[in-house]
């Protein structure tokens, strides 16, 4: 099997170098792609450049270092970090259970993992706010323990964690599936404990995928808006996320300030996107699908 696979791969590689001349549609497909990418993705960026270039440097710095905005950066950063780390653990657990074990309800779990991507964020937001409200199904129990989630930064963590659950599961799952059992079985048969084999044999091949999943989850959480605003309470200096700050500046018709803050957010997300791409091409084969 593996021998035939190798021999069939080699000629394709050699052939594809010439395929520019063989297959039709290069001009048409690239034309459509470039037109679309320019019009939909790149052209809108010019609006941001024009708007922020109308500001003086001092105005720009003043806007992005406003104390209320600075607090929003801090809140967004630590809640996104907490949410993505939680998903690192929860996602690893789900991926492990789905790949390694057979049990009733497995297919259902595998299907509902993608729910946060399918469910509109506003729906997730009002649902979580209702569940964690003081009289909600979860809120009343947490209230007895003295934990407040709704209208606090913890609510933001919950919303961010919910909306980004699938990332870690779907990046770790395929890697775990393809892990060769040989080393693991050898280590186990030599009497090493489960924990030790996991740390020394399994984790080293798993962690690049885990880091990718956590980074994707973090990036998504930084930009999340819909799910958060319903549960966060949106108290200035306490539970305002940066995407809400942009939204508030827009409602005040302060387009310049909104653009200045947005340019910082955009810069961070593009750096993260680029870093994740470099990381993936170094450590992982291109992720299939999601």
């Amino acid at each position: 099997m593996s021998v035939s696979a190798q021999t069939s791969v080699a000629p394709v590689r050699r052939f594809s170098g010439r395929s520019k001349r063989v297959l039709p549609g290069f001009g048409l497909s690239l034309g459509i792609s470039l037109f679309f990418v320019s019009l939909v993705l790149l052209l809108p960026l010019t609006g941001l450049v024009v708007e922020t270039s109308g500001m003086t440097w001092d105005q720009f710095v003043f806007t992005i270092t406003d104390p209320r905005v600075i607090e929003s950066y801090k809140v967004t950063a630590w809640t996104a970090l907490a949410a993505s780390l939680f998903n690192g653990v929860f996602g690893l657990l789900l991926a492990w259970v789905l790949v390694r074990y057979e049990f009733p309800g497995k297919r259902l779990i595998d299907a509902v993992v993608d729910l946060p991507f399918a469910l509109p964020t506003a729906v997730a937001g009002i649902t979580l706010a209702t569940l964690f409200a003081q009289n909600g199904w979860y809120g009343q129990w947490l209230d007895k323990l003295g934990v407040e989630v709704a209208f606090t930064p913890i609510g933001i963590v919950v919303a961010m964690a919910f909306t980004s659950i699938p990332f870690v599961v779907r990046t770790v799952q395929p890697v775990l599936e393809e892990l060769s059992p040989a080393d693991e079985e050898a280590a186990v048969s030599l009497g090493a404990s489960d924990g030790r084999v996991f740390r020394k044999v399994i984790f080293p091949s798993l962690w690049p995928a885990l880091v990718t999943g956590v980074a994707l989850s973090f990036t998504r959480s930084l930009g999340e808006f819909g799910a958060i605003i319903f549960i966060a309470g949106n108290t200035p200096y306490v539970s305002e996320v940066t995407s809400l700050m942009i939204f508030i500046r827009l409602q005040e018709y302060d387009y310049a300030a909104a653009s200045a803050i947005a340019s910082m957010v955009l810069l961070v997300s593009l750096i993260l996107l680029f870093a994740i791409n470099v990381w993936q091409s170094r450590f992982l084969r291109r992720l299939e699908g999601r």
């Binding site: 052209l43 964020t121 995407s243």
Partner: protein
């Protein structure tokens, strides 16, 4: 002891603990929230739910949402297919950059996405000024909603197709060329059957996001009831009005679409696995 296990986590107690924990957390975070949506929507009875959905503004929001999805999906289907064809069938400078660029909407906050469009096409934008002198309004109207929805959903189809088409290689299409088939015929008869399920999968994901987009749409819509209110925005509006049951009635429609999406996705994955199994020779690996 070691006789009973040969891989990590095979011991019954480890197995049971991990499965139990996974089930518990899945129930808390994923299953019960869906149950809450429907119990809240039904908390005042079936007739209230029906009344809430048949409400004039809700019906308008449903119509607008479907209209936006109906325009967005075909556009991104064409773009995604063209992009996947160009980057997997040809080598050219800037190919890697193009693949990275289409991930931008995944990384950018929806609010920032909406803002980008507002700045360009809004009344004060450099294109918007020209548009408003010609009496064309894109922002705070349905075209703006469609535009930002196309932006946030444009990676889905391409992201599904690229890995698959890369893996399949272009031998079959090249054989078609040698046999003298036209480009369109090659695409329809050879490529399309091979990528059919991935294409459908991409459409399902695009549709789900197009129906549910909130942040970006919220920036460019203007939220006028009965005019530019999509279903997710309508959910927010009712919730802010303290009409919780009404908000969950609309939310339950969106949740139903989400559940249908998951079912369709599971079905497509099953078909994909089946077609992979029945035609292993078409795959590179």
């Amino acid at each position: 002891m070691s006789l009973h296990r040969n891989r990590v986590g095979d011991q019954p107690w480890v197995r049971r603990t991990l499965i139990g924990l996974a089930m518990l957390l899945t129930a808390i975070f994923l299953v019960i929230p869906v149950v809450v949506i429907f119990t809240q929507a039904l908390s005042a009875g079936w007739s209230t739910l029906a009344g809430n959905i048949m409400d004039e503004y809700t019906l308008h929001a449903i119509g607008l949402t479907l209209f936006v999805a109906l325009l967005t999906v075909p556009l991104n289907l064409i773009f995604g297919t063209a992009l996947a064809w160009s980057v997997t069938r040809f080598k050219f400078p800037g190919r890697k950059l193009l693949i990275t660029l289409i991930d931008i909407p995944f990384a950018v906050s929806p609010v920032v996405a909406g803002l980008l469009y507002l700045l360009l096409y809004g009344r004060n934008g450099w294109l918007g000024g020209w548009l408003s002198t010609h009496d064309i309004q894109l922002m705070f109207a349905w075209p703006g909603i469609v535009m930002v929805t196309v932006f946030v959903t444009c990676p889905f189809v391409a992201r599904e197709l690229i890995p698959l088409m890369q893996q399949q290689g272009s031998e079959e299409e090249e054989a078609g060329v040698v046999l003298g088939a036209s480009g369109w015929r090659i695409f329809r008869k050879i490529t399309l059957p091979n990528i059919k399920w991935a294409l459908i999968y991409g459409v399902i994901l695009t549709n789900a996001r197009a129906v549910g987009e909130f942040g970006a749409v919220s920036v460019v819509s203007g939220n006028v009831r009965g005019q530019t209110n999509t279903l997710p925005l309508h959910v927010e509006l009712l919730y802010q009005d303290y009409n919780i049951v009404g908000a969950f009635a609309s939310a339950s429609l969106l949740a139903a679409i989400a559940i249908l999406t998951l079912v369709a996705k599971a079905f497509v994955e099953w078909r994909q696995a089946k077609s992979e199994h029945s035609a292993p020779e078409t795959r590179g690996v």
